[in-house]
């Protein structure tokens, strides 16, 4: 009876043993037993594959074979601890049998002999290469980002949905007179600029976050509370989270103040030159007491026409000229817009208190006017400047004689 029981017991133990072995062999974690000198004396297939050796290839080799000399010292110390039942978990870098770098997380359970000395260890290995690589990558990218934010002179800023700064470049912090980038956190344009700039910038950003459409290279005028004016060229885009929702703004602005002031100066100069050119190309000649003549030469586009008419009207009023002769014999072509403009000018001349006479209306222009059916509105026209002058002189004579007689 007892024998039968023993047999059963042995059978049970054998089966249990088989099951444990199977469990260990099929485990995805690496499992090994390390002798007192850290020689592998048992490994499961997962452990072999972690170390990059064929199955059973670890037997008799030392853990140190896979470590750099510095790491070996450290690892030996950590594994050969006499503290039992204490969580002994750490990470190490290994060079695998097939010459790759890998990272393992180790959980070691020290075994002590009866005298309390370290006798060996059951060790679990977990592959953490992927995680470590990702961390390394993150650190690397973080470094890239940091170097970008701390060195690039352009102003870079991340804003949240309410257009508050959440991260800015050093250059922007300095631009705002702050010592560190952190001082800007949670502040917005309204804290640094006057409403004149802060408001449209805020509206731009809200629009970008609504539509997702970026702003590129927009030249913005920045007005500071101390009255300073600066100009920047700004590009702003929406920031998205992983799900594709817009969560804020990323912007980059370049200081173009100097360039802009130079441009403004140039524009002003050009404007002044344009004025001069108009005055030069449209001489207003005092031909007689109270009689002005304006010969219009060259092509008359509508921009030039309106400037000519302004110039003429100003001169008429300044000189109190009763009669203005507009001579168009020098005009190369007249289209409907120009003809219309000329007639409007003549009508404006009458409004300020003078009489306008249009001379030099040649056959071609007369035909254009007739074809276009333009209403001359009682405007006096003469075919040549000579006729115009003759008419004016005769009228002047009349009034002089009238005065004498009167």
């Amino acid at each position: 009876m007892a024998k039968k029981n023993d047999k059963k017991e042995i059978e049970r133990l054998r089966r249990e043993n088989e099951e444990y072995k199977k469990l260990i062999e099929e485990m995805s974690e690496g499992f090994a037993y390390l002798e007192e000198d850290l020689t592998f004396s048992f490994t499961n297939p997962a452990c072999d594959s972690l170390f990059g050796v064929p199955e059973g290839g670890l037997m008799g080799r030392k853990l140190e074979d896979f470590l750099s000399s510095e790491a070996a010292k450290d690892v030996r110390k950590k594994i050969r601890t006499k503290k039992k039942n204490k969580k002994n978990v750490f990470e190490m870098e290994i060079k695998t049998g097939d010459d790759k770098r890998g990272y393992l997380l180790i959980r070691s359970n020290s075994q002590l002999d009866e005298k309390g000395r370290f006798a060996g260890s059951f060790v679990f290995f977990y592959d953490i290469t992927k995680r470590v690589r990702m961390e390394e990558e993150l650190i690397f990218e973080r470094g890239l980002l940091d170097s970008l934010l701390s060195t690039i002179p352009d102003h870079i800023y991340y804003k949240d949905k309410e257009s508050r700064f959440i991260k800015v470049s050093k250059s922007l912090a300095e631009w705002f007179g702050m010592k560190s980038m952190d001082e800007l956190m949670g502040k917005s344009d309204f804290d640094f600029f006057t409403e004149e700039h802060a408001k449209p910038a805020y509206e731009d950003e809200q629009e970008i976050m609504k539509t997702g459409n970026p702003i590129e290279g927009k030249v913005e005028k920045e007005t500071h509370p101390d009255g300073r004016i600066t100009w920047v060229s700004t590009t702003k885009v929406a920031r998205y989270d992983k799900k594709g929702n817009i969560i804020g703004i990323l912007g980059i602005s370049r200081d173009v103040t100097e360039k802009r002031f130079w441009e403004i100066e140039r524009e002003e100069k050009m404007e002044a030159q344009k004025e001069e050119l108009i005055a030069l190309s449209t001489p207003v000649i005092d031909v007689w007491e109270g009689v002005l003549t304006v010969p219009i030469l060259g092509a008359l586009d509508s921009e030039r026409a309106s400037r000519v008419s302004e110039h003429l009207l100003t001169q008429i009023v300044r000189k109190r000229a009763g009669i203005a002769i507009i001579d168009i014999s020098g005009i190369s072509a007249v289209d409907s817009a120009v003809a219309d403009r000329l007639i409007r000018t003549a009508k404006a001349v009458r409004l300020v208190g003078a009489e306008a006479i249009l001379t030099g209306v040649g056959v071609e222009i007369a035909q254009t006017i007739a074809d276009l059916g333009i209403d001359m509105g009682g405007l006096k026209t003469m075919s040549t400047l000579k006729d115009g002058l003759r008419y004016v002189i005769s009228r002047k004579k009349m009034s002089v004689e009238e005065e004498k007689n009167g």
């Binding site: 008419s309 008429i316 409007r344 409004l351 208190g353 509105g377 009682g378």
Partner: protein, 122 residues
């Protein structure tokens, strides 16, 4: 309301418009001019707008209306001192005011007005 001062110079009523007039103020000014001119001694009215830099379409049309009304009452009308910018603006608005006589300044306006009145009485 803007104060509108009308000056009587013999048979001529001089109305200087000193500031921009809008809507009701303009209409009231128009009425006042007509009422002041409703006097058999007044033969002509000179409206001086030389102080105005801007004339909008409303005021432009109102000027035309006033002139028309005065003309209907048998008065001569002259517009004085239309600034170049104003002239350009009026023309752009299509307000040529073709039947209203114009003058640079009050002196010549009064002269012209007297001539016109004399013509009438001939």
């Amino acid at each position: 309301m803007a104060r509108l001062t009308c000056m009587h110079l013999g048979e001529i009523l001089v109305v200087p418009i000193q500031e921009e007039l809008h809507d009701t103020a303009a209409e009231e000014a128009g009425e006042k001019i007509i009422r002041e001119a409703d006097n058999s001694n007044i033969k002509g009215v000179a409206i001086d707008i030389s102080a105005l830099d801007i004339v909008d379409s409303f005021l432009g049309r109102l000027l035309q209306k006033i002139a028309c009304g005065l003309r209907a009452m048998g008065k001569e009308v002259i517009l004085v001192g239309i600034q170049p910018e104003v002239a350009v603006a009026l023309v752009e608005l299509g307000l040529y005011l073709e039947d209203i006589t114009t003058a640079f300044e009050l002196d010549s306006a009064l002269e012209k007005l007297r001539e016109m009145i004399n013509e009438d009485s001939k």
